[in-house]
């Protein structure tokens, strides 16, 4: 029994830290609230979709910025999409990085855009690692017979 309690404590603390450090925001709680016995893997499923979409968009962005003639409209559309989906899952830091990116698109500043792309990629890979760790912790709690505490 002790093992489960300790794991649950670890899970709660880790989740809280992700919120405190701004990796996740309230929207992530919304997703957790949508998970129930009939939709037990909802959060993992949605986040996996987010990972797939994001990786595709990041590749498109890198390609677009390598072009002789940079299509800023197209780049802006991709960043807009990434901003939207990151805000939908509560990936706050990725969302913020996208906002900065769009400003450079408006200015048609290739140098600025390249820097922003690096920043977005960095934030994305951070939140991806954090979420994967979170899900691993959740699986350990479940395997030990515990349950994932729901947000209030």
């Amino acid at each position: 029994m002790d093992g489960v309690i300790q794991l649950q404590r670890q899970l709660v603390d880790y989740t809280a830290s992700l919120f405190h450090e701004g990796f996740l925001d309230e929207q992530f709680n919304q997703l957790q609230q949508l998970q129930d016995e009939n939709n037990p893997d909802f959060v993992v499923e949605v986040v996996s979709l987010f990972f797939e979409d994001s990786e595709r968009l990041l590749n498109e962005l890198a390609k677009a910025l390598e072009q002789q003639c940079v299509d800023f409209k197209r780049i802006d559309a991709h960043v807009h999409q990434l901003k939207g989906s990151s805000s939908s899952i509560g990936a706050q830091r990725v969302q913020k990085a996208c906002i900065a990116f769009r400003n450079y698109c408006d200015e048609q500043n290739t140098e600025g855009c390249l820097k922003c792309l690096q920043q977005v990629k960095h934030e994305y890979s951070l939140v991806k690692t954090k979420l994967e760790t979170l899900f691993k912790l959740q699986r350990r709690v479940l395997a030990a017979g515990g349950s994932i505490p729901k947000p209030i």
Binding site: Q27, L31, L34, N38, F42, F50, S87
Partner: protein
């Protein structure tokens, strides 16, 4: 757990002039009537209670129009959570096509920025087709003028992304109040 007021919209259409209305829809009969019922009273009759969780079915149907897979999945789950039967399409053109095929929905959640046909264009076309469904624009607020343009295309309401249960419930409340024609 908070009690979500449950309501059901019973659509009775006096003379359906809209050729795109689905005539096999079970709601057709006399006059337009909206009833707002407390959760407890309705649940026994119309709703399916599952495991004591407040899962229930309404008679509202919805269409999610969004080019992003993550957003579509979340919006559909939000709708499902409130017992609303729903479908999805990926852009404005597909929204037009599904209506042209005879399908009709009480509620349409319309994203603004989509490829092939965007939300503004799709809303204009749906209204031109005579579609009277509640169309709610759902988008990240970029510029006031864009939102204004979107509203003028024929929206009943506009909600900023990301969508939440609370926002969806406020949409449903508005539908209920504006219903009497």
């Amino acid at each position: 757990m908070e009690i979500i007021p449950f309501f059901s919209i019973i659509l009775f259409l006096s003379s359906p002039k809209n050729p795109f209305l689905d005539h096999t829809h079970t709601h057709h009969s006399g006059k337009l009537e909206i009833s707002f019922m407390e959760f407890g009273a309705t649940s026994r009759k119309k709703n399916k209670m599952v495991n004591g969780n407040q899962k229930f079915r309404t008679e509202i149907t919805a269409l999610v129009v969004d080019d992003d897979t993550t957003n579509r999945t979340i919006h559909r789950r939000l709708l499902q959570n409130l017992g609303i039967e729903n479908q999805e399409v990926r852009n404005g053109k597909e929204a037009i096509d599904i209506h042209s095929s005879g399908r009709n929905f009480d509620l349409i959640l319309m994203d603004m920025d989509m490829p092939i046909m965007n939300g503004i264009e799709a809303t204009k076309q749906l209204r031109a087709m005579g579609i009277r469904s509640t169309i709610v624009g759902v988008s990240t607020r970029s510029m006031e003028e864009k939102v204004q343009e979107f509203m003028e295309a024929g929206l009943d309401d506009y909600q900023e992304k990301p969508l939440t249960s609370a926002k969806l419930i406020s949409i449903l409340h508005k539908m209920n109040h504006n219903g009497s024609v």
